[in-house]
Symmetry: C2
Subunit: 465 residues, 2 copies
């Protein structure tokens, strides 16, 4: 970590100028115990051990399937063995969609096989497949502006030009094609839809992800092509000849099944001070083994909590680690948690669900009574290369239902520069995790927990829109 | 190209010291016409146009299939349109192997789906698949040393630790697991074999490639796992529990089919001076669209020949561009060419079949009468960053049967540092080709043709082992 110190010094020197609207004029002192915990966490091996174990001994764990149930069994055993308290699995039920066959080919103007994968909630083409004319749109906006007559009975293609961004903002901007493209295509009378994967790579591995067909909209077959397959279609389209595609997609809804959240705690000394909620999600998409999405998140948060547990001093606040179920397919675990635990007093909520690359920024949303916590976080996180962002915290599908009740939020934002290269693809495997960057994450979360769980300030509700 | 000049100067200054055993003591002068052709080729767009066209308008082109036949039709039309002479397709027949279903999963100790692909000439597991115990070997040597009793009736796994090398030498060293592993496993009585892909990437895309079952050895199912799937198996194996695999591979031999070489010429003024043979292979594996293997090779050599054709001066020697068929599956095109044309006088033979990254080295094997050609090549290629290697030229599956008759060879070696990341995978698509490096290739081949096709020296036979 020595190489970080020049950066640290630069950040500290720059702080007074940058701090006029976001932080006190002089940096808060760093508690030596916090600094010691932070620096020790830079040698952490537990988080990698958890990611390695979950991806090797369980593998893919699609929500509501036997694989996700095996993951819960594994998680309870692991968290118990690590010495956490009150380890348990809390079940709930949810509708389950499972993948079937997936094949595609260009039929005309030239036969070429395509690599694609169904989007979550896609309808089936039936076992015989579906052949149709392709209508090519370079962007969601172009598609949205097209009249229904242009797509009726046809297969819609939507391109995108997603670029990597550190804060992941390009996902929202380009993701519309996946989030709402299929429903709009269904409403316009399209037979099916294929989109260019919502991703930043150029590999032959398509990106799945959930799409939403609102009540009253009959689902159609919906899939994502790998980027090179999408660019092939775009090149053929530029040649001006009609393109015909054959799709075979046989996913199906299999009804309600059991899913669940796994919970573990480091009990605090002051039950009235509120719970510090941290976690990630245990389920993954079925194509990879969910190493960055989100074995890393559950691993980072548990490893950090374990460091506080083992520090020799019980924290003031109870740290509750939740490994949420069924995040990918609609955030069922987060909703079930809020339903069951929403009436308990939570001090803060924080979620790690953006891979395992370096944390580069933190943001908070704390009540006035606890503003000084932010200053202490800024000082203690700076040596890890983490800057204080000006946004309001509380992001994440799993904590959103809890945060919506007025719970304060603290976000530790990972770099998104590589995340969408392999997000939701078969390539989300252990090799994607950089052990060194993973350790920096554990150090960041350990620092956050050491400060927040022990903060003497009152951390009550914050106003939410 | 300005940035290359300092390197050039350094190379020229270094030449006297390095030249004691390989080149004359002072650099040969560069013919200004050669330099002009070379520098103009650095703006070449034809090679990329050919790669784009072949991968977009034809796509994958497995030897002996309809797709390879479409590629020949496309090639004849393209080379004719470019103005080449004597453009024709020369057919031959060959046995054809085609891929079938390919699925695999770990059955025990934990169910996990695996990504793999059959090796060329693999046997079928039958439609019901094959389930068996896995015996894990970390290397080919470890496997080769194991007694038959250790693998009889089981599925063999062979790992490797292939690293990228500029000269591609790690392919030979690690490739044995694919080239001869399956035959040896069959001889030892194994039920099937899976190898870690012979590749240098860590993506979920397996590398296919041909394997050989000699006469008398009954083929068994043989496949390559993607690297992350292989490392998963190795991690599970280290845990010590027995591993059971289920394989479903249904490739088959479909008998003899037609394949062919496509030939085009730039006629020379001196028929007695011998043919300058250049080319690559038109067929590709079926998983990708064969952009680097070997649309690039056919594109580079044709684009270079076209530049000589368009130079306003007919070359002394006829330049013959051959787009060989059926290289991947056993070099049938190269053998058919030598059979048909071996009695014609060839001056030199050169093949481009190592992707589209920069040429970094050239080597020659020329008769004494033409040694000065090497010196002129060294001077003219140096500004492209190309060094003179000390090995003997004549490499390549397609030219080998011709070279074996005593034809001189000139090799232009591309960098192999990225090549085996995507070689023989679904990821061998247009996106792998860097247009800038492709242009450097065209410049190198144009330079070589300008010198060799016009060399006043006699270029006769060289002794071959």
């Amino acid at each position: 970590m020595k190489h970080l110190y020049p950066l640290t010094i630069a950040l500290l020197l720059a702080a007074p100028a940058a701090a006029q609207h976001t932080a006190p004029p002089t940096p808060a002192a760093v508690d030596p115990r916090v600094a010691a915990l932070r620096d020790a966490a830079l040698k952490d091996d537990l988080a990698y051990d958890i990611v390695e174990g979950l991806t090797t001994e369980v593998g893919a764990r699609l929500a509501g399937t036997d694989a996700e149930a095996r993951a819960r069994t594994w998680a309870v055993a692991k968290l118990t063995a690590l010495g956490f308290s009150n380890v348990r699995s809390e079940p709930y039920r949810m509708p389950v969609w499972v993948r079937g066959a997936e094949e595609a080919e260009i039929v005309a103007p030239v036969p070429q096989k395509l690599t694609l994968t169904a989007l979550g909630n896609s309808a089936s083409t039936g076992a015989g497949g579906l052949t149709g004319e392709l209508v090519v749109f370079s962007s969601y906006v172009e598609f949205a502006n097209a009249p229904s007559t242009a797509v009726k009975g046809k297969i819609v293609y939507i391109g995108n030009t997603m670029q990597p961004t550190q804060d992941g903002s390009s996902y929202g901007a380009n993701g519309t094609a996946r989030f709402t493209g299929p429903a709009l295509a269904a409403q316009k009378g399209a037979a099916a839809i294929v989109i260019r994967s919502i991703g930043t790579d150029a590999h032959r591995l398509p990106h799945t992800g959930v799409t939403d067909f609102p009540a009253g909209v009959k689902p159609i077959p919906a899939a994502a092509l790998s980027t090179p397959d999408a660019t092939l279609i775009e090149r053929l389209a530029r040649r001006g000849q009609p393109i015909r595609l054959k799709l075979l997609l046989t996913p199906k809804m299999i009804g309600e099944r059991e899913s669940g959240n796994v919970i573990a705690e480091v009990p605090g000394t002051d039950p009235g001070a509120g719970i510090v909620l941290v976690g990630g999600h245990l389920d993954s998409w079925d194509l990879g083994t969910g190493a960055i999405d989100d074995a890393s998140g559950v691993a980072i948060t548990a490893a950090a909590a374990k460091r506080i547990m083992d520090s020799g001093q019980r924290p003031r606040r109870t740290i509750r680690v939740v490994w949420f179920g069924a995040e990918e397919v609609g955030g069922f675990g987060g909703k079930a948690y809020a339903q069951r635990h929403g009436s308990e007093r939570h001090a803060t909520a924080s979620e790690s669900d953006f891979g395992a690359d370096r944390v580069w920024r933190f943001e908070t949303q704390l009540p006035e009574s606890a503003k000084s916590v932010t200053a202490r976080l800024a000082s203690a996180l700076a040596p890890l290369g983490i800057v204080h962002g000006s946004g309001l915290a509380g992001d994440g599908t799993d904590i959103e239902p809890t945060v919506a009740t007025g719970v304060a939020g603290i976000d530790l934002n990972q770099s998104g520069l590589r995340y969408f290269d392999t997000h939701h693809t078969p390539d989300d495997v252990l090799e994607r995790v950089d052990p060194e960057q993973l350790r920096q994450n554990v150090a960041a979360w350990t620092t956050m927990l050491a400060i927040v769980a022990n903060a003497p300030e009152e951390i009550g509700a914050v106003p939410r829109q």
